[in-house]
Subunit: 134 residues, 2 copies
DNA sequence: GTGTCTGCAAACGATTTGCAAATTA
DNA sequence: TAATTTGCAAATCGTTTGCAGACAC
């Protein structure tokens, strides 16, 4: 908790209860949630929480490199507080997201010279181990 | 042109003028266009063309594996008639899309066993050769 | 003639914006 | 107290849906 406040202070972001709870949620749940998932889960703790605040907060965290945004083409975005280079696997059966240790840097090295690469995104889709068995 | 009609027939899709023009456009321009780009470019040839038809047609082509969908997180989708495995580079300066020969299969081989991979998507972002020089 | 396709208008839904009230330093 | 943040309501915008008329087989 103190850690979270520290992180926000370092970025000159006021540690409002909403910002703390949202970043704490992302860092601990590690569930790659959608905006609505975050909203629903924190609502019991902050009954007057607004979806707008969740959107605003996530955008602020994103701009300050405290979270990354994931887009699995679902029509909504997901967020992850793990900002180290890694990739993701999306299970089309259970909808769960799994972290892959494949570094986008490995991929960047395969891109022809001439291109100046700022960022790479790798998404894999299929069926996770658990779902494959049923 | 005959080729296009053949392709549509093979998938049991009626070769309407709209479907032919849209698929022909994608196969020849190879510009990874947005829906609106396709609409604007074909409008002179079919003045009463509807955006709805472009959307419907692209969805039909997508379901029949005649095109793929690209999502660079712009808030709109792009389409590509090249359905062979490859990746894409998006230049954040000029907005152009470049094909990369990196096969998603190369990447799939790096995913831990247990996962059943159906599809992988690799997007790279940065600055293309031309834009890097200016 | 029957089933499919087109295209208009309206609906949809995730996200953003405007702004007044609440909160923080 | 001054600047920032919240949260409501309304707007935005790419995409989808409903449906009547047009078209293809």
């Amino acid at each position: 908790m103190e850690q979270i406040i520290k992180k926000l202070n370092q970025k000159n972001l006021r540690p409002s209860i909403q910002r703390i709870k949202i970043l704490y949620y992302l860092e601990n749940k590690k569930n790659h949630p959608t905006v609505d998932c975050i909203y629903q889960d924190i609502l019991p703790e902050i009954p007057n929480l607004s979806r707008t605040t969740v959107y605003n907060t996530l955008n602020v965290l994103l701009e300050n490199d405290l979270v990354i945004q994931l887009d699995f083409g679902e029509g909504c975005l997901r967020y992850d507080a793990d900002t180290t280079p890694h990739s993701h696997f999306f299970c089309r059966k259970c909808g769960k997201v799994f972290d892959l240790k494949i570094s986008p840097e490995d991929i960047a090295s395969k891109i022809p010279t001439g291109f100046s690469v700022q960022e790479t995104q790798l998404y894999a889709f299929g069926c996770c181990e658990k779902c494959s068995k049923t």
